[in-house]
Symmetry: C2
Subunit: 355 residues, 2 copies
Amino acid sequence: MADDLTAHSIDDVVRIDQASGPTAPARSKPVRIEEVARLAAVSPITVSRALRNPDLVSEVTRKRILEVVQETGYWSNPHASALRSGRSSIVAVFVSNLQSQQYTRAAQACASVIEANGLQMMVGQTSYSYSRELTALQSLRALRPAAVFLTGVIELEENRQMLRDLNIPIVESWAHTRDPIDMLVAFSNVDAGRLAASHLAERGFRRPAFIGRSGGRGKLRLQGFTERLAQLDLPLAGSTVIDWVDSIEDGRIAYRKLQERGVTFDSVFCANDLLGMGALIEAVSQGQSVPGEVGILGFGDRSEFNSLPPRLSQVTVDTSQIGRQAGAMILSRLGGEPAQDRVCLDLSLLEGATT
Amino acid sequence: MADDLTAHSIDDVVRIDQASGPTAPARSKPVRIEEVARLAAVSPITVSRALRNPDLVSEVTRKRILEVVQETGYWSNPHASALRSGRSSIVAVFVSNLQSQQYTRAAQACASVIEANGLQMMVGQTSYSYSRELTALQSLRALRPAAVFLTGVIELEENRQMLRDLNIPIVESWAHTRDPIDMLVAFSNVDAGRLAASHLAERGFRRPAFIGRSGGRGKLRLQGFTERLAQLDLPLAGSTVIDWVDSIEDGRIAYRKLQERGVTFDSVFCANDLLGMGALIEAVSQGQSVPGEVGILGFGDRSEFNSLPPRLSQVTVDTSQIGRQAGAMILSRLGGEPAQDRVCLDLSLLEGATT
DNA sequence: TTGTAAGCGTTATCAA
DNA sequence: TTGATAACGCTTACAA
């Protein structure tokens, strides 16, 4: 901080004394179901039913109960409820990375769907490490969630079994696996690679290279990319795979590695949103003309990055649709309706200025 | 999707059959404390103590119990625990916006601190709407969280009181308020404005303008900005304030509005991360030279945006430090240690290429 | 359609 | 240092 600044100036945050609209009176002790029951002159179990299975309660009684609930601001204790029923109203969402807007966008979209139905979303982060995954799943199990939404798939069979044993709706996503634990909302990563190859070929690039993660989805994208290139009689000019992507900087590094390898490439498919931006920044800052000297194609949903010139061309999928879809599938399952088990989302090519 | 792609290709996701390292055997029925107690030949309460207050249990007994816990894979039921004790091990984190990396970075930093201590993080999103805030707080109260971390401050007195009544550690952050509910990790938004003004003056700009949000933090930043300009005998060339910022596009619009107003300005302080990038993009795409014709100074933590050329100069604060600090304060409070109540973080000026 | 009784798994309280 | 007992607030199972 510059020296001439008052070190600890106090900001005047606006205080507001009145809420708009009717609200329950503030109380320090939460109201219990027993009190609601007393005031409505029914038994506690009837209050419970009025809130949970309104159909089982006569309309008159239900109306009276709901009025008292309004007045008292009653909110059921989720722990007591979960303890007794063995099921909470928490939907656990695991994102692979809280920093990645792809995943938070999906999580948020899922939240907006389920929260409208009285469920709570709990966000956790799975590293890609199996041991941390196990810990996360153990505490998950203890929470007795109503459902689970994973922005990814679980690969370790033991952990898959643990999730299966929870016997609740589970939505995996992102990767298009043959054998999901339960439900799946996905797009094909292999197709993403194919689409990338087709696009680069169409644009007249003859020596495409690849940058991506070594495992999981990255591998699948490379597979599709290589396969389609072969069909088109184009060589894969070269590739750099890395184990873990943390930031845009990793993309810059990967791009330089590719160059240092001495391969000649006229374009590169970066199979990850951060890698794409990094490669682009590195190429531009080296003074290369994009797409004149090198074409760059990224992967990701349309993100803030994409509004910056030069806009990165990307293979994209609508990630908030993934979340919405997952939320909808969870709701219909919990509602006892027959739900679609597999949904395959379309990929598209967002044409920017870099190919 | 391109027509020539197989519409629903199946990716081959790798399955892994063996976990690395020792793990508890998979079971479908969770182990209860009673079973651990039986196997360790003690009473349930002693098991509880061994896990929660190890000091109260003799070393021999404790060791025996912990072994059984290991073997059985016992994990306590958090709902039963919360119900009986009136307190869960959930730390509730409210971010103003899940999409904003500033906030998720703080949330994640907080999570890494508290999760290392056996607490769970639950992320929620507060819109800026007071009515939704109330609903969020009601379900929050029902959860009996161990502590609350807010990336922001609560302004509505009624809601502040509700939080105070929870009688748990509460950390507000971001705005530097005079009167926090409980604890505070903040920087001064007024100082941010002052720092911006000082920086622009130092760089020789004589007609600085302002773009920012109309309320809350934006207002405070404008206040500090204007105040410091006055001290420096510089005029505020003009300003555009907007009610709500959603995207970079809003920054472009705000910049054009400022121009349309007909004021002459040689620089602009954009008091929000998205606004700064938007203004920069708009200026560049109009063919203005930056900082030759116009200097642009943004606000935000160092973010991905900042690695793009031309790098935006920004008034910054380390948002992951906000989260870590909040986590640490929560932990010491929960541990019964005397914790620091107010922490003021320093602002700094990240010099980019736009001033 | 409503109510009674019991119990979910843990921990507070008090006693030994 | 350890244990017996009861209770947290709700919902299942069964009865009326």
